[in-house]
């Protein structure tokens, strides 16, 4: 199995980065954390823009850095594509020449991705003859992505590529980034502090805080770890559930989604049957009942659940997080008072009422 292993220790005057992680090298791997946690530095270390005196970086079987053996492959010889926060296009070259810059410097035998493919996927045909300054921010960033892709990299690093764009432009580029994974099969390390982007894109996540990795793994798992909840903004805490569209209920205007623990009903989604859809169930939208309600409830999604873990009880805070198992992890935020009233304990069988499902 393809794997990316990284291990760096670098000290800057005001900052210390010490990371060590191994993740499957496939799909979009998000590096997430608050500003100043070392996300960009980590990316620069992976690319070889910064050299850590202690460290190693291995992608599949390529050793790009191993300081214990004195190995450090210079940046220009690594098969890495890098998309910076700003597009960094060369202002003296037209778009086409910008795109070809890396392609020309890639050995013929290593060229897997063609200009036609990139132009098609990124929809930039009509921009080729223009100078970078005449493009919008979103267009420039698309060219920057294309330019990096044309080196046919074995790993694509993206450093908050959408952070300089407004909401509309972000919406415009996100689908392109999602297509990169399926079209070109290049593992992408995607740095962001925007949870929405990450939930939308990532398969694997590496959580960073204060220069160290505090969690890494499949996104559904990491995002339902109660001990990491302080890293996630209050309103965003919630389990991610991968579902497939099972049925369209025309009469009531609902869509039925199937997942590993059963079904969820959501307002009608214009999707094909069988299409995959990742939804987030926010912890604040989940309530717990100890036995099935004697009365009918207006809540459609009522699922059997097992209590897995009770989060930290803080006497200064009225709420507590509960991790449930409904065939996949589910988080619920309830009051301490309810916790006491229901006498919840791990292993207990309960029901979870899901009031809303966030769809993206």
């Amino acid at each position: 199995m393809n794997q990316l292993t990284a291990n760096f220790e670098v000290t800057f005057p005001t900052f210390h980065l010490q990371v060590n992680f191994a993740v499957p090298a496939e799909g979009i791997i998000a590096v997430f954390g608050p500003s100043g946690c070392g996300k960009s530095t980590l990316l620069r270390c992976l690319a070889g823009l910064e050299r850590s005196s202690l460290g190693s970086m291995v992608l599949n079987s390529h050793i790009w850095q191993d300081e214990s053996q004195g190995i450090f492959v210079p940046l220009s010889q690594r098969s890495i594509g890098y998309v910076f926060q700003e597009p960094r296009l060369f202002p003296h070259l037209k778009v086409l020449a910008n795109l070809q810059y890396g392609w020309e410097r890639t050995p013929k035998s290593a060229r897997r991705i063609t200009l036609d493919q990139v132009v098609h996927v990124l929809d930039i045909e009509r921009l080729l003859d223009r100078l970078p300054q005449s493009l919008s921010g979103g267009e420039q960033q698309r060219i920057a992505i294309g330019r990096a892709l044309l080196t046919s990299p074995q790993l694509l690093l993206m450093d908050e590529p959408l952070s300089s764009l407004d909401f509309q432009r972000k919406r415009e580029i996100l689908p392109f980034i999602r297509r990169l994974d399926s079209e070109f099969h290049i593992p992408i390390i995607y740095v962001s502090h925007d949870l929405h982007e990450i939930i939308e894109l990532a398969k694997t996540v590496v959580l960073l805080k204060g220069g160290t990795v505090v969690g890494s793994g499949p996104i559904e798992k990491v995002f339902s770890q109660l001990d990491l909840r302080h890293l996630i903004p209050e309103n965003h805490l919630g389990a991610l559930v991968d579902t497939t569209v099972a049925e369209q209920d025309q009469e009531f205007g609902l869509t039925k989604l199937a997942f590993s623990g059963g079904h969820l009903h959501v307002p009608h989604q214009p999707r094909q049957i069988g299409e995959r859809l990742r939804v987030q169930i926010l912890a604040k939208d989940v309530s717990i009942i100890s036995s099935p309600p004697a009365f009918q409830t207006s809540v459609l999604n009522l699922l059997e659940a097992t209590v897995v873990e009770i989060g930290e009880v803080n006497t200064e805070h009225p709420f507590v997080d509960i991790k449930l198992d409904i065939g996949c992890p589910l988080l619920a935020t309830i009051t301490r008072k309810s916790l006491a009233a229901l006498k919840l304990h791990p292993g207990q069988h309960v029901h979870a009422q899901i009031k809303a499902v966030a769809l993206r």
Binding site: L75, S76, F90, H92, Y101
Partner: protein
């Protein structure tokens, strides 16, 4: 008809041309280093490079004269190496002019490289370009206006040189008798007509060169500031 010797004019153009070429070769690495180093020596080097701007040319000329002597700091090794002296020669003048006009080439280049910044260079490296490749295909084209300014200032400043030439070059026709010296000679001997011709010629030439450069500059596609 006036008896006008055009030798000094030709010599001056040769001197300015040769000096600019040497200056670009020497000044580019210095400017690059100044723009990107984090070394503490930076300020010291910056100050040394700027010295010719504030020093009276005669002071610079005086020290260069001593250094260029057959037993001097530069003249000694030069004589051992080439077998000829440096002072009162054309080569000596080129070398002296290089010191004299150094800040006028280094400073615009330094500014231009700083304006380019590290970001496009990093982008080029990630696209597989070596450092030298990046310099020629990204940094230099982006700094083209800096180069243009450096060439014009270096050339013009060398054209107008007087004090340093007088000190290290003397007044040898065909060797070191440049335009400014020739004009001075004509004035000394009250040949105002010849002085006028040469002065007006230099004035017109300088104006045309500057005009050509600035209008070319305006039409360049790169605006990096």
């Amino acid at each position: 008809m006036l008896d006008l010797d055009l030798g000094p004019l030709w010599l001056t153009l040769q001197l300015a041309g040769a000096t600019v070429i040497v200056l670009l070769l020497v000044g580019t690495p210095i400017a690059w280093w100044l723009a990107f180093t984090s070394s503490r020596l930076r300020t010291i080097v910056e100050a040394i490079v700027a010295l010719p701007i504030v020093l009276p040319p005669t002071v610079l000329g005086f020290y260069l004269l001593i250094a260029f002597g057959p037993h001097g700091l530069i003249g000694g090794p030069w004589k051992d190496l080439t077998g000829s002296a440096l002072s009162f020669t054309f080569t000596g003048l080129v070398l002296a002019s290089t010191f004299y006009s150094l800040p006028f080439v280094v400073q615009p280049l330094h500014g231009a490289f700083e304006a380019v910044g590290k970001k496009p260079l990093e982008a080029a490296w990630t696209l597989g370009a070596s450092k030298l490749d990046t310099f020629f295909t990204v940094a230099s084209p982006m700094a083209i206006r800096g180069y243009l300014t450096a060439i014009v200032l270096g050339f013009a400043h060398t054209l107008g040189e007087f004090g340093v030439v007088l000190m290290v070059g003397g007044n040898i026709p065909g060797q070191t008798k440049v335009l400014s010296i020739a004009i001075y000679d004509h004035v000394e001997t009250l040949e105002y007509a010849q002085a006028h011709m040469l002065s007006a010629g230099l004035l017109l030439f300088s104006f045309i060169v500057l005009l050509a450069v600035y209008s070319a500059n305006r039409r360049l596609p790169i605006h990096v500031t």
